[in-house]
Structure formats: C-alpha cells, structure tokens
Amino acid sequence: MVDNKKLLDARNVVMNFGGLKALDGVNVHVNKNEILGLIGPNGSGKTTFFNVITGLYHLTDGEVSFEGENITDKTPQEIARLGIIRTFQSSRLWFELSVLDNVILGMYMREKPSLFSSFFKYNRVRSDLEAKAEEAKAILNEFNPDLANNCYKRAQELALVDRRRVEICRALVAHPKLLLLDEPSAGMDPAETKELMDDIKRVRKTKKGLGIVIIEHDMTVISTVAERVVVFNFGKKIAEGDFSQIRLNKEVREAYLGKE
C-alpha cells in the first residue's frame, strides 16, 4: 500500500563501521509538507543517518525508499537528482569560489547549455549563467541582504553563520523535494537562530510538498519549528511523536541529562 503522503521511508537501517554499530535498525519516515526534527546527543548517529540516505555511506542492512522508489543502492548523484538535497555539519562550500558561484553551482542539476555550446554558442552560455546569477543574488538577498551585496566574496572569507546561510541558499536553488539540514543553527546566537527558523518556515510555505528534516541537539530550537520529532541515542530510535510527548519521555530525558 503506497502511502503517497510518505516522502522518505527508511526501514530498520543498520550501519556499522568495523564492529561499531553507528545505526542499529532505525525506522524513520518523512511526510510531504512536514518539518521533522531529528534530535539526540552528539554521536547518536544523526549525521550518519544523513550520510546513508544521501548515498555517501553504503548501509550494512535495511532499506530506504523515496516516493515509493527503492534508493538503497543509488549513488549520491542519482539520489540528488531525485530531489534529496542536504547541507553539511561542517558546511562544505566550495571555498575558493565566490558566494555567487557557490549558489549558481547549486543549480547544476537544472537544465543548462551543453558543453558543445560553450565553444560555438558562447553567448547562450553566458546569458544562461547570468540569469542563474540573477536568481542566486535574489535568494541571497532574501536570507541576508549584505550577503547579496558581498556576493563576489570568496566563501572561505565568510563567517561561520554566513557560510550556513549560503549553504541553505545553495540547497534551495537545487529545487529539493526533501531538504536535509545538518545542524543549520550551530554557532548562531539566539536572535540569528530565530531569524533562521522563520526563514525555514517561510520556505516551507512557498514550496508545496517540500519535506524538511532538521538535525539539532538543542531541543528548544526544534520546538519552535518541527511538527514531529524523532530522537536518536546510540544509533537507536528511542522516541518519536510531536514535541510535547517527547519532552515528557523518560528515556529522552535520560539520554540528554544522564541517568538520575
């Protein structure tokens, strides 16, 4: 029974690195139009889960499907083409390129002039790139106007906060169906975090059917934006549900605050 509400469905996913079980049979699903929070202490397997879904790590056991189609053995490139786009915990931008180029490259999978035309129809290539640069500057402006004004700055010269924002813009221009945000607010002060979460909510409204998963280890941040939350601890899913249920769950509190 294909439940068309379900965007991503990961069933008892196991991932071990030479004996260490980073993921131990987790079951997680993401619905369309939903913001799912993925929380848990450091090293509980959240990022590993993202790496498995996006095909960077090959899972030891279990199955992952996206919009009903099995993507367990697909390459990162094929998975990206299906619309699963992610950001990275250590914000892996292309550091020697300008902010603008980073966002333009986010549109790599969109329709673009062929290699052949870069020889003979060069002005078509230039105009296509200029149009995409226009779009990139627009989205940068939405997130942070002075980022847009300094769009020719090299990515390596950006502050950590700005790097995160550029990464999110890069992900958005790739027109994702499922957006995976890996600790987007890390290193941000509360005001910036609030502003970021509002941006994420605004994005969810503009893009119909878009599913978002946010990895956070700070519970209060998640409470303001996620409808449903999944909690990981030592590679296992120890709780799932809306935020109020999670807060009361004994196991979750122990996982965070340690045993009484």
Binding site: F119, Y122, V125, L129, K153
Partner: protein, 385 residues
C-alpha cells in the same frame, strides 16, 4: 576615474612591459641582463605593494579588458620585428609560446580541477612523435599531422585520465609519474619510433602551398621563415586561449572548480566526477599535443630528450610560478621560464638549481603565483569583493 585615463594607464603599463622584454632580449652581456632583470623585479614589487597605481591598473584591466587585450596582441605581433637580424631570439620567443600552450593545457588539471599532472611533458612528446611519424613515414602534410596528433593525444588523455579517477593527491601524482616514465621508456626502446636516434627531417608546414622554411619579401624587408612560424604559433596560442577561457568561464570551468574544492559536496549536488576529470585530462593533453606538433616542426627533429622528466617538472613550475587557474598568469610563467634561463646561458650549470629554488620560494611566499586567479564576475551583477 575617467575611462580615457584608465585606458592610458593600461597602455602605458603594456608599453613598459614590451620595452623591458625587448631590452632584456637585445642585450647580450651578462651584467646588463641582470640589471634589466632587477629593474623588472623592482617594478613588480612597486606594483605589488598596492600603491594607487595598482588599483588603477586593476580597474583598467577590468573596465577596458577588450581594448587592452587587443593592444597587447598588437604589441606581440610587432615584437619579432625588433629582432629581424637575430633569428635566435625569435626561435626562443617561439619556444616560449609553445610551452605557454602546453602550460595552459596543464592548468586545466592543476589549476581548474586540482590534480597534479607530471605527464604533460610526455603528452607533448606523444603529440610531437605522432605528427613527426605521420609526416616522415607517410609523407603527410603538417596539417594532417596536426589533426592526427590532436586525436592521438586526446586518446592518451583518456588513457592517463582513467586510472586517476579513483586516486587522491599523492597517489594521483604517482600515476602520472608512472605514465611519464612508461611513455618515455617505450618510445625510447621501440623500433618504429626511431628509438634513441629520434626522428629527423620533419618538414616545415606549408601555408597555401608556400613553405615556411624560406623567407618572403613584403615591402622591401625580407621576413625570415622563422618569423612566419612565429605568427603561426601565435595564432595557435590566441585561438587556444579563446577556447580555454570559454571553457573556464562556462559551466565546465565552474564544475571543474567544484570538483577541485570539495568532491563530496560536488557529488551531493549531482556532479559525476568521472566525466569532468576525464575532460580535464583530454583537453589538457590535446593542448600538449598541439604544442608538441609545433615544437617538432620548429626544431625539425624530435627525440626522447625533449620529453624527459625535466620537461614535466618545467611545465609544473610554469603553472605554479604564473598563477594556478589563471590563463594570463600561466602564460607569463611559461614565457619567463623560457626566456630568463636562455639569457643566462653562461650560468648553465645553475639553471636547474634556479628552477627548483624559485619554485620553493614561490610556494612559500606566493603560492597563488605572480598573477593570482580572480573571482568570476557576471556583467549584470554588481557586488564588492
């Protein structure tokens, strides 16, 4: 800053550069060349110290790019006329342009895609041998030899590129070193490549039935064949610069840079690494093949010495000295590393030592090279650096 003033500054700088080059090449004795070299270095530090002149120059290059490039080309065209009576200097200038072509090709791998390639000299040799063999054994014309060399060096570009897909920095450099040695040894020991004797009597190219080996008279002055060859190589360099800059400023260049800066995030945005790395090697090898053909038909003789490992190192030094991922920089690097050692012939023994020392000084003090790469600018977008 009025547009006119900017143009003037740009022209003045180019005139200064031309004058320096001409004087440097004209004088023969050792001390005067050191003096001119010191003057040039002095001017360079003057500019590099971010005086107002440098900003103006930078802006001039930005605003008046097309005009300044045209003037630069014009100057290079009149350059050989200063040395009408001295073919040797023209021979050196041609060598500089030939190595510039191979260096621009190498920059696709080292500058754009971040892959160290120690086999570009071998590729140059393969191109040279292909055309030499075609022309001498089958009596084919230069132009068919050129096309043959392009195809063969493209194929070898793939052959060199394939094993590098799975390897990282140091492994990749070893793959290219292995390829260079295997290529060198095989050509040295095979019968049909003329073995250690190399191939002699490679014909001069013919242009509309007119061979470039003899001089022609235009308006009274007899232009030696060598100068015609200079313009042939210059034409090739200009065309290949256009090709290279179009590649770099199109989607291909952008994607190459993504593969260079972070392969993992490139994968997660749908970029398949294999085709782009291969393309980088194929284009680079074709450039080297063309340079090899122009070299073989210039010297009229080709042997394994001109594709030894020292040529691979020299090309890598040119890209580093000039400035990675910057066509203008790489060309300047190539011209400097051909002209300067040729002038300091009397300190022959120290030539290789000089290369190695300059390379290390550059890497320590100025890894971005003489003319560092600039960020891509889009006409319709304004924004500061």
């Amino acid at each position: 800053m009025k547009k006119g003033k900017l143009l003037l500054i740009g022209v003045f700088f180019e005139l200064l550069l031309l004058a320096l080059i001409v004087i440097f090449l004209k004088i023969d004795n050792f001390l005067q060349s050191i003096l001119i070299f010191a003057v040039a270095v002095g001017i360079w530090f003057l500019l590099a110290r971010k005086t107002r002149m440098v900003e103006n120059l930078g802006m001039a290059m930005e605003e008046k790019r097309k005009e300044l490039l045209l003037i630069a080309l014009l100057m290079v065209i009149i350059l050989p006329f200063f040395f009408l009576n001295n073919i040797y200097i023209i021979h050196i200038l041609i060598l500089a342009l030939i190595y510039a072509i191979a260096a621009v090709g190498l920059d696709f791998q080292m500058g754009s895609t971040g892959m160290v390639n120690f086999a570009q000299g071998t590729m140059l040799g393969i191109g040279a041998y292909t055309s030499a063999l075609l022309c001498t054994t089958f009596g084919v014309s230069f132009w068919i030899g050129l096309v043959g060399a392009i195809i063969v060096s493209g194929i070898f570009g793939v052959i060199l590129g394939l094993p590098t897909l799975k390897t990282k920095e140091y492994h990749l450099s070893l793959v290219t070193i292995a390829f260079a040695y295997v290529g060198y040894l095989l050509i040295l020991n095979m019968k049909w490549t003329g073995g250690p004797d190399g191939i002699a009597g490679i014909p001069k190219p013919k242009l509309f039935g007119f061979s470039l080996s003899r001089s022609i008279d235009i308006g009274g002055i007899s232009i030696p064949g060598k100068m015609l060859y200079f313009y042939l190589v210059l034409l090739a360099l200009v065309l290949l610069i256009i090709v290279a800059s179009r590649l770099k400023n199109s989607w291909l260049g952008l994607t190459w840079n993504a593969v260079r800066d972070d392969e993992i995030s490139a994968k997660c945005y749908g970029i398949r690494l294999m085709p782009y790395k291969l393309l980088s090697f194929v284009f680079g090898s074709v450039f080297a093949g063309i340079a090899g053909v122009l070299y073989a038909h210039l010297v009229g003789f080709i042997s394994t010495e001109s594709m030894a490992f020292s040529v691979d190192l020299l090309l890598v030094a040119m890209v580093i000295l000039g400035g990675m991922d910057n066509i203008a920089g790489v060309i300047v690097g190539a011209i400097l590393l051909v002209i300067i050692p040729e002038k300091f012939r009397s300190i022959q023994d120290f030539r290789i030592l000089l290369y190695a020392v300059t390379l290390i000084l550059m890497l320590v003090f100025r890894p971005q090279g003489l003319i560092p790469k600039k960020v891509r600018v889009y006409r319709n977008i304004s924004g500061n650096r």
